[in-house]
Each structure stands twice: as C-alpha cells, then as structure tokens.
Symmetry: C2
Subunit: 323 residues, 2 copies
C-alpha cells in the first residue's frame, strides 16, 4: 500500500491508503490575505504563529507554508520588491523557522518560485512536502531536481503547458507524465501526491464525479496518493460548507488520502472524522469520540478552535498523567 512519509524534526506523518485522511492546513498563505501580508511586511509573525497552533489543534496534521506575499510599501521604496524571486526566498525561510519553533507538525513548502521552495527546503527540519510541480516543462525541470536533491515528496498538479483540461482523461495523462518524469529523476511514485484538480460543481455539473473517478484511477493505475484544494468544489454556490462537508467523505470513499484546506471549520472537520471512522481508520472510534466532546463544548458557546485547543491540551494532560 502506498505510503508518503512526511517528517518534522520530531514527528512522522504518513499519507496513505490505510491511514486517516491527512488534513494539510492552508491558512498560512498571504496570497489571499491582505492583512496577513501587511503584518509579514512589518516582520510581525504573531498571526502566523497563532494560525499554526490553531490549525494543529483543530486537526491539521501538516501545515502548508505559502510565501506568496506582495509587500506594497517596500515595493514603493525599492523596485526589487516587485519581484517575487527577491521577496519569497527569505520570507519562506523565516516562515518555516517561525512555524517550526511553535509546532511539531511536518510542513508543506508552497510557492510558485523555485528559489523559495529551495529556501524552504533548506530551512525545514525533517522531510517536508513540496507544493508543487505541474506538467509544465519548465516547472518539471526546475522542481524535480530539488525534490530529488532533498529526497522529499511532492504535490503534482495535473495541468501542463496547454493549461487545465476540462477532460479528466487528459488530466490523468498529465499526472501519469509527471510520475514518469519523476521516475526518470529517481523519484518513486509513493513520493508523488497527485492533485487531480477540483473544478467548481456550480460551473461544471460533472466536477464531483470527475474527481471521484480520477482519484480511483490514480490510486489503482498509478498507485499514488492524492490531494486537492477541497473548497474549490463549492465555489460560487450558497452554503458552501455543506457542499464541502459532503464532498470530502465522498472523495475519501473514492480513495482520496489528503486535502489542502481550512481545518478551522467544524463542519468539514466533523465530516472528515466521520469518514475516517466509516473507513475503519479510527481505532475504537477514539478520534470521533474526542470530536464529539468538542462539539458538545461548542454547544456551550466555544468556537471550534477554542474547544479543539482545550480538548487537545486536556489530551496532553491526560497522557502526561498516565506517563
């Protein structure tokens, strides 16, 4: 059975067919968060550190670290800041160091800038995941050598120089090409985590079925683990969390083994915990019973993050008491 092994300095997380679904927390990402970008520009990492702790408490097993910040004020003073090749590598190294200092979760080094990926890989302790390579020639030639050099696993997104195909068979062939090219570099299939690309079901009615079929084929034909940007499925529709909370169990049932998502959402995280239980990936229902206590605490007014943090520190207390 395929196992993709991720490590921090002290902790191992396995993405695999026989493992609980691996939630990769997406929140440390200044791309869509102007306020966070402004904080980072001022050298303020308090939100990053809080988000790291909160996501882990809520159930993220891996933390994505994206360095895609635009530093508008610095750019006005120094034109070099207009270039992400200048901004991202030192920022990524700093983000990795800050997050490693507060949590023991393995990291996912996420950038469109290869030099930022390398800076993150150099700064990360253990065995982080690289996010990402695509089927684009230039990207393959830049990222796969890094993946080989650092002996790390990589997310492979199934688009190429022709863009993102709406035909799932074409996306499957892009994934196959990436797996083959990685093999040429000596990178094994179990270190490739394919993102088959999730389209919004509001724009393409077959988007859900496409993903379920692709995940199943990727697993049986290529033997690879899979991931996705889960919330994309509900883009543009009302009550998005309800759609996400059905999509995730269905994707898990089809064989998906991880997702890059916001773990600070009770509805989606409950759906994933229930799916783990139903896939027989939650021994004695222990995780489900812990979540049920969190939901109970939420009925008393606590937020999901607060109740999760309280439950996980109580858990640590109990373990210490026993030890």
């Amino acid at each position: 059975m395929t196992r993709t092994v991720l490590e921090s300095k002290t902790k191992t997380v396995v993405i695999g067919f026989d493992e609980p679904f691996c939630v990769i927390g997406e929140r440390i990402n200044p791309t869509g968060r102007k306020k966070l970008a402004a904080e980072l520009e001022l050298g303020d990492f308090t939100t990053v550190e809080r988000d790291a702790l909160e996501q882990v408490a809520c159930g993220a097993r891996v933390l994505d670290i994206n360095s895609g910040a635009v530093f508008s004020n610095k750019m006005a003073e120094d034109p070099r800041y207009a270039d992400n090749n200048f901004v991202e590598p030192p920022l990524m190294a700093e983000l990795v160091a800050r997050v490693q200092a507060v949590t023991d979760a393995p990291l996912c080094i996420d950038s469109s800038v290869p030099a930022a990926l390398e800076a993150g890989l150099a700064a990360a302790e253990g065995r982080p995941l690289v996010n990402s390579v695509t089927g684009e020639e230039e990207r393959l030639e830049r990222v796969l050598p890094l993946v080989k050099k650092y002996n790390v696993p990589v997310v492979a997104i199934s688009n190429d120089d022709t863009g993102i195909s709406e035909d799932p068979d074409v996306r499957f062939e892009v994934a196959r090409k990436i797996v083959q090219r990685a093999a040429d570099f000596g990178i094994p299939a179990h270190d490739i985590v394919v993102d088959p690309l999730v389209m919004p079901v509001g724009a393409m009615a077959t988007a859900g079925r496409q993903v379920f079929t692709l995940v199943s084929r990727l697993r049986t034909e290529l033997g690879v683990n899979t991931t996705c940007g889960a919330s994309n499925i509900s883009f543009g529709l009302p009550e998005r969390h309800g759609i996400n909370a059905a999509f995730l169990p269905m994707a898990i049932g089809a064989g998906m083994t991880s997702a890059i998502m916001n773990p600070v959402r009770a509805q989606e995280m409950a759906a994933i915990r229930a799916a783990n239980l139903l896939m027989d990936h939650d021994a004695n229902g222990a995780d489900w019973i812990r979540l049920a206590r969190v939901i109970e605490a939420m009925k008393e007014g606590a937020s999901f993050a607060e109740a999760s943090a309280a439950a996980s520190s109580a858990g640590r207390g109990r373990r210490r008491a026993r030890g």
Copy 2:
C-alpha cells in the same frame, strides 16, 4: 440503467442509478413510538397526517407505512388484539387511506405480517413498494406471490433462516438468492431493492466499508437498486447525526440509490442534497439552492420542517403563477 418505478394515484417516483437519491420517510411507524401507538389505538390519525405532510415537505419522496402497533388497552379487554395478524391488516388499510388522502407521495407498505402487506396493497392506489421480503424460506413463499399478484417492487433484506451474517459475502449471496427466487415468480431484478443490512460501526469497525463494497457489487453484479436503514450505522455512538451525514454521501458515492430514514433532520438531508449535486443529479443546482434558502430561514429560528414547508408552498405558488 436500473429503474424501480413507484406510483401513487397521480405521481411517479423512480429509484435509479441516474436519479436523485430517494429518501423514504420512516416516521409513520408505531413500533418504536408508544405515543403514536396509543393515538392509533384511539383512532386518532392526526400525528400520522402531520408526519406525512412534514416528511414530504422535508424531502421524502416515498412514505413508509408501518402498521406494527401494539394496542395494550384493547388487548386487556379482547385477547385477539395480542395477535398482530388481527391488529395490523385493518390498521394498515386505514393508515394507507389516511396518508393517501393528504399527500400524493407513493407509499412503502411495511409489515412483518403478510396479511397486513396484502391489506396495504389492496388499499394503495398506484404502485407502492413492499417492505419487505428476506431470504427466509417462509417469507419468500408468502411475500413473493403477493409482489407478483400486485405487480409491485419489493425491498429484499439480505438475511435468511440462518440469521444476519457478519460476512458481507454471505449477505451478498442471500441477496442473489432472493433475486433468483423472485425471477422464478416472474419478478424482474429492477423491481427488487436490496437492503444489504447496515451494522453499527461502533460495534463492527468494518461496517461502513462493508456497505460501500456491497452496494457497489449489488449494482454491478446483480443490477439492482439498494436501500438501507441509514441511521443504524451510528447506533451507540455520540453525535450520531454527524456520522449519518458522512455515511449517506459515501453510500451514494458507492452507488446506493435510496434509504429508509427520518427526513425531518436538516443535517442528513443537506448531506443528501449536496451528494445529489456532486453526483450530477441536481440539474442547475436547483435543489441545492432551494435547500440553501431553507438553511437561511433556519438561521432566523425556523425549524427544518417549518422552513421546508414554507419553501415548498412558496415553490408551489411560483409554479402556479407561471402556469
């Protein structure tokens, strides 16, 4: 593609591989509801009528009618009431007549007493579903002739004279036997809706996986529609609705086409509507958008039943206005 056609006097509902998931409302059942049984003993059908309307408003497409009442007071006066063969047939006929008078949903005639099934079949207009036959010899010999005589579809539960097997392969073979015996009576496979039997995942860790595998095999190898008592999966565990709400989309993804369940529950019904959308069984997302309005109304304090009833009468108003 397999289609099981159910009819009331005026309405057709199809259970099928290319249809939205068919929710069969379970609430009209005095077996576990002492208060309802007491009302029925007094000839009071107001709860039955209200439950019929409420379940349909919430999204039930078929209504299960179970006549398994115990009439304790009458039994004390007249020992014949201790015999369900005496109590159920006239009660079933009355329940069917009452429900037909207030809704146009097709019915599911549900009793362990063959004479009650026949009384229900005689009273029902259209083409109801019979619930149920099993692989037990006596039951096959009593129920299949009725199914043939009335030309109706039937729920086939995969236990036999040896009981309920924990081995899913044995349950599959029981289903196959029922389909074959039905064929001997001239009943086609598309009129058999197999219940593969859902075990509680709290008692049997593989219960979820068993169902997903069985549903897929029943569909591909026997070509039959499937159903289940959905809430059984979460028996004995906390936060049951969260487990049910992940189980249903996963079962739908595996190919399940109906369930006998309580439709007056927002969490489970939202999960089913989202799954329909993700299976491309909700043209233009119309059902999802309607549900989103119901959820909005619930945020203002309405119950799911109230908000659903308001939305469905608004829908009827709009259709009339257009017509």
